[in-house]
Amino acid sequence: MKRLRTIVVAMFAVLIAGAYALPAGAVDGSSAALSIVPKKNYSIKPGGSVKDKLIIRNLSTTQSLHLTLRVIDFTYYGEDGTPKLFLAKDAPQTTWSLKPFMTVGKSVDIGPGKSKSVPMRIAIPAGHGAGSYYSAIIYSGGPGQGSGQVGLSASGVTLVFVTVPGKVKEDIQLKKLGAYDTGSGSYHFIMTQTPKNIGYTIQNKGNVVESPVGSITLKDMFGHTTTIDDVNPASSLALIGQTRTFTPCIKYKTDGKTQGSQMHANGCDTAPLWPGLYHATVDLFYGQNGNNTQEVVKNAVFWYLPWWFIIIMLIIIAVIAYYIWKFTRKVKGKVNGPKRLSRRR
């Protein structure tokens, strides 16, 4: 019995040792170096269609690129513009899906350093309801040759948006407005650092994607006014059902060359704001072609109180308090002094 137990333990030990001594096996990886169009926008009437080409470039100068193309649906991640891709083959179709209306080539082979165009077509059936429809085309790279524990594969995605014109349901609710700190990703009623962004959060309750335009006006306690004249410089979208936060800069960095939406990429500069209370007013416009232009106006307040200002204020308050106390003491001394003397007498 003792011998049997020794054999079993020994076998187990060999098994475990073998497991750790096993070399990494061969696994095919895949990768690609590609250039694609990130976004496509179309307006197609019911019964109409659009034919277009997806231009794909193979950035590798030594290897061919094999891509398979597939239409997938997507929605939003949180309150920004990052798409959440429904990659599973059995993912349920969204109500805004373009899958039934879009045809695209199944695969493409591109030689090293070459470009190719893949035809695509979107046809909207006659009588189809107005609104926004969107899906994505995913370009999946073929497997690379090699062996290892971690294989790599690179894919690209083109987002496709279609607006079907007509009477649509448009409803944007302005949820929040105020000084926004992009570092922490939150609104602040009191800012101790110079505010660089004014944020506003909208909720899209309509059946169409919205890209609001308009301006934000900041007014300080002394009447100085600062205007953000483009509240959506990247023409970003609030998808159907999405609550999206926009954070335009109070002042954009400029290199003297870039303008408009390109300036947005340079980031925010420090605006010359005075400490104190600020009133922010946002004036948003939205509305699809042929529908009423809707306007949303909202006010909010916030404080900009830098630490140096708070310290100076505390010192001033302390000095004032000191002099008040000194003055009070002096007055009390004058009032109480003669009484005490008279009592003594």
Binding site: Y20, L22, G148, G151, L152, G156, L159, V213
Partner: protein, 336 residues
């Protein structure tokens, strides 16, 4: 101080405006640069005499801000082809982005339905990336001067099925391999990482690189998908939250920064500061892997940035023997 704060909050000024209601614009064609008809609709609000309607075409809808004419727009040859509701108007004057309609100053009828004005022969703007507006003003004076009665703006945008060839089209460049050049012009052509032999006493590491860039104003996002390392039905659990490397436990994770424990990886390289690892994948010595997570993104234009992905694998002594492997897919997409 708190009292002062309250006083300022309570004494907030309230705004009061008189805006045209039910404002709308229908562009008969929204193709960039097309010559088409615009139907402008709105309901007059203030019961006063109206002698003119001022229509100013600008990028920005706010009436008190400087007007920048939408690129490519031309209304200088437009004609007033139809009108309903408050009628009797004709074009008094017009230029590239400005039309004044006039009529003998008459009290408005008070109809609740919107009045419409169809302007034919307008050349659409050409910039598909930017909306434009028509700033509307109604005035008592017939010559479009003097105090305004009501005001408001309508919004429009050109869209197209075919990209304009005159513009630099938005592009998204992406590559991934064990090593890549900053601009994706070359890669090591190696698409796998052999991490060596698993041991409960040490951490296996590997790294790969990817470069990404876009001139699209919406920026980019990189999503990671795939399974953790598996051998048959045996799985090395991935870290669902950013976790330090723990030898002797089953753990698989990645991040996109330089680490010291264990020493692996590099910080992102490139001049574009707006392209960054996302919060779960940007802390040194903390590793995470959740399929479907966005691991890096840029909120706007970022021409080229190189990320080094660090992989760590730890194994418990009880881990079943086998060849553990996986394929990780990185998906680069635009943003909206």
């Amino acid at each position: 101080m708190a009292l002062l704060l309250m006083v300022f909050v309570i004494t907030m000024p309230a705004g009061a405006t008189t805006r045209l209601q039910d404002r709308g614009l229908f562009m008969y064609s929204s193709a960039p640069g097309a010559t088409t008809d615009y139907k402008v609709a709105f309901t007059y609000m203030t019961p006063e005499s109206i002698g003119s309607v001022d229509m100013l075409f600008c990028n920005n809808p706010i009436p008190y801000e400087p007007c920048v004419t939408p690129t490519g727009l031309d209304v200088s040859h437009a004609t007033l082809s139809d009108q309903t509701g408050e009628t009797g108007f004709s074009i008094l004057s017009q230029n590239t982005n400005h039309i004044i309609l006039t009529r003998p100053s008459t009290m408005i009828s008070g109809a609740t339905a919107p009045s419409t004005y169809t302007l034919s022969g307008i050349k659409n703007p050409t910039d598909t990336t930017q909306a434009f507006s028509i700033r509307l003003k109604t005035l008592d004076a017939e010559n479009g001067t003097g105090p305004q009665v009501d005001f408001g703006s309508v919004r429009g945008q050109v869209t197209t099925g075919i990209e304009l060839q005159t513009q630099v089209p938005p592009m998204l460049l992406f590559c991934a391999a064990q090593e890549v050049a900053d601009n994706c012009t070359s890669t090591s052509d190696t698409y796998y990482s052999d991490m060596g032999r698993l041991s409960p006493k040490s951490t296996l590491t590997a790294q790969s690189q990817m470069a990404v860039g876009t001139n699209a104003t919406g920026g980019f996002a990189i999503t990671v998908t795939g399974d953790s390392l598996t051998a048959g039905t045996s799985v090395i659990n991935p870290s669902a939250t950013p976790t330090a490397s723990q030898p002797g436990t089953n753990q698989f994770g990645i991040n996109l920064v330089e680490n010291t424990s264990p020493a692996v990886g590099e910080d992102p390289q490139g001049t574009w500061l707006n392209a960054l690892p996302t919060s779960g994948y940007g802390t040194p010595n903390k590793y995470k892997f959740v399929s479907g997570d966005v691991i890096a993104s840029s909120p706007n234009v970022s021409l080229m940035k190189k990320f080094t992905v660090s992989y760590i694998v730890n194994s418990a002594p009880s881990l079943r023997a086998g060849v553990y492997s996986t394929t990780i897919t990185y998906i680069a997409s635009g943003r909206f």
